[in-house]
């Protein structure tokens, strides 16, 4: 059994040798808006690591004859990963499992031949320089059916050897270059940007043709699941790969369109702070408040560009908004200066949140519970305290709770428990005799980055719920 974590540096190194620079694997700010809330390791990176770990002990040259890979769960960077040989028998079959924090992520089944084969030479089949960074294509979902193309085969042996020394020594460089090409096809070409690798099944022949390319074509797109099937051909391999077309970050309604839902001066008496206002529910809240004449300040932690884009959109259309950096896990001491010395907020809307859908059915994770409490309990309290410390006289503070408390999904116990605590904090603060009204609403599943899934799940439009919140149709 082998263990490791994948760091962003590991990811960048793999991108460098594979040519798969999809930002889902490399860019924390970009990836936080996607399906898993943070960067995930390339599926092929994990597979090659697992095969390399197997070959360390095997110590004999092998040539792949068949390989079947099924991806069941993502491998987030910085999470504990384990590779375990489930079967390695005399029939030249090996089965390897990769799990993340004990949960099955990948199953690899390989049939191989042992010994020295022509495929172990053939360095003339592929280009030996490492691949240059190409464009990560973004193909619209309605254009997928006719896609076909080719990618060149690359393998920088020295760089590959540093990362996967046993694979370099004991396996076929041609076959490795083909596996690298597959991750490049999926992550950069088809479907490219919106890809989530689901699985593949390849057969390798003993004959190697001299074409230095791998070709691919779409054979099927299942709209029910946004699942793409590609046929591929390389110098000695044919097969199919399965890829999900993942949803793009959710674009919320623009400021001009939202103006019609509020009166011009409906909120002109408010100075509102929207914590986590650069996207999602916070973004919709900020836009509606500004459309109603409020002076708004949105906070961001890592999404500075999104916050600036929001400011530009609102101010160029007549609204009043600023953006400030604010980390609820470590609220700034110079908050007064950031807000402006003369600017005193009257309303606060708290939308700070980590990635929500990280739970595992039937399991309570203390680590996950702590993460949620850091945002939904401690972060909330610390934020209120730092605003009180600078002399804010907040009339109202909004805390978003969730219908998950009523529904109790089996994979969200940590989230539910922390939201219940957040509601309790609101009730305590209300009873504590201050003038501020703390109110919460149990919101249903609303259409934001957080609720995007691969399967068809109905997410509700946030607009009517945010309108109720800011117009005062609420209970505490």
């Amino acid at each position: 059994m082998k263990k490791r974590i994948f760091t962003l540096k590991d990811q960048n190194d793999f991108a460098n040798i594979s040519g798969d620079y999809n930002p889902l694997h490399l860019d924390f700010v970009f990836a936080r808006r996607l399906l898993y809330g943070r960067p995930i390791a390339h599926g092929m990176h994990a597979v090659l690591w697992a095969l390399d770990s197997w070959l360390i002990n095997k110590k004999e040259k092998i040539a792949l004859r068949e390989i079947k890979i099924d991806f069941f769960a993502p491998i987030p960077v910085l999470e504990s990963v384990r590779s375990e040989i489930l079967k390695d028998d005399r029939n030249n079959q090996v089965k390897i499992k990769i799990d993340v924090n004990g949960i099955k992520a990948v199953i690899i089944k390989v049939f191989f031949s042992s010994g020295d084969f022509p495929v172990h030479d053939g360095s003339n089949i592929f280009n030996q320089r490492h691949s240059t960074r190409g464009e990560c294509k973004s193909i619209p979902v309605n254009s997928l059916n006719d896609i076909e193309g080719t990618v060149d085969l690359y393998l920088s042996r020295p760089k590959f050897k540093r990362m996967f020394p046993s694979l370099d020594l004991f396996s076929s460089p041609i076959q490795i270059s083909e596996l690298m090409a597959i991750t490049r096809i999926v992550g950069m070409e088809c479907p490219g940007m919106n890809s989530i690798f689901s699985g593949m099944s390849l057969i390798f022949s003993e004959q190697v043709n001299s074409v230095k390319k791998m070709s691919f074509s779409v054979s099927k797109f299942d709209e029910r699941f946004s699942l793409l099937q590609l046929k591929i051909n390389g110098p000695d391999t044919t097969g199919k790969i399965m890829v999900f077309y993942r949803p793009s970050p959710k674009q919320q309604p623009n400021f001009i369109d939202l103006k019609k839902y509020v009166s011009k001066n409906e909120f002109s008496d408010r100075r509102a702070v929207v914590i986590g206002g650069s996207r999602g529910l916070g973004e919709v809240t900020a836009k509606l408040l500004a459309a109603g004449g409020a002076e708004v300040q949105v906070t961001y932690n890592v999404g500075s560009q999104e916050a600036l884009d929001l400011v530009e959109e609102i101010t160029s259309n007549g609204g009043t908004v600023r953006a400030i950096k604010f980390d609820v896990l470590s609220p700034p001491l110079d908050l007064k200066m950031r807000l402006g010395e003369e600017w005193t907020p009257s309303h606060l809307y708290y939308f700070a949140s980590p990635f929500i859908f990280d739970g595992i059915q039937g399991i309570f994770s203390s680590k996950l519970y702590d993460r949620f409490c850091n945002y939904y309990v401690k972060g909330f309290v610390d934020t209120i305290q730092v605003f009180n410390k600078i002399g804010s006289r907040l009339e109202e503070v909004f805390y978003p709770s969730s219908v998950a408390i009523d529904e109790m999904p089996l994979d969200m116990v940590e989230y539910v428990a922390s939201k219940i605590s957040g509601e309790t904090i609101c009730e305590f603060l209300n009873r504590n005799g201050k003038t501020t009204n703390y109110f919460f609403t149990r919101l249903p599943r609303l259409d934001t980055d957080q609720t995007a899934t691969l399967s068809k799940v109905e997410n509700l439009d946030p607009l009517p719920y945010v309108l109720d919140i800011i117009k005062g149709v609420h209970s505490s």
Binding site: D70, F71, F72, A73, K97, K104, I107, S198, D222, R224, F225, L227, I360, Q361, G362, L410, T453, L454, S455, K456
Partner: protein, 76 residues
């Protein structure tokens, strides 16, 4: 073709458990590994095996082995 046996073999393949046993009453909520990805794999494999195609509503409605059996019976 014994449908239950075929389904059992499919479940064993998808969940990668050669000793797995299922019954008509096996529920999605009882199997920790029966998540959305596994669900899709089950649907696609069952469709291919029984030469049927399920609607999006049927896919969403499946919560047990019995639900699969009903759909297979309806389509055949």
């Amino acid at each position: 073709m014994n449908t239950m046996i075929e389904l059992r073999n499919i479940f064993r393949e998808i969940f990668d458990d050669d000793l797995m046993s299922i019954s008509q009453g096996t529920m999605r909520s009882n199997l920790d590994d029966w998540d959305s990805i596994s669900h899709i794999k089950l649907v696609l494999t069952i469709e291919e095996k029984f030469e049927i195609r399920m609607t999006t509503d049927e896919v969403a409605s499946i919560n047990s082995v019995n639900d699969f059996l009903d759909i297979i019976k309806k389509n055949n």
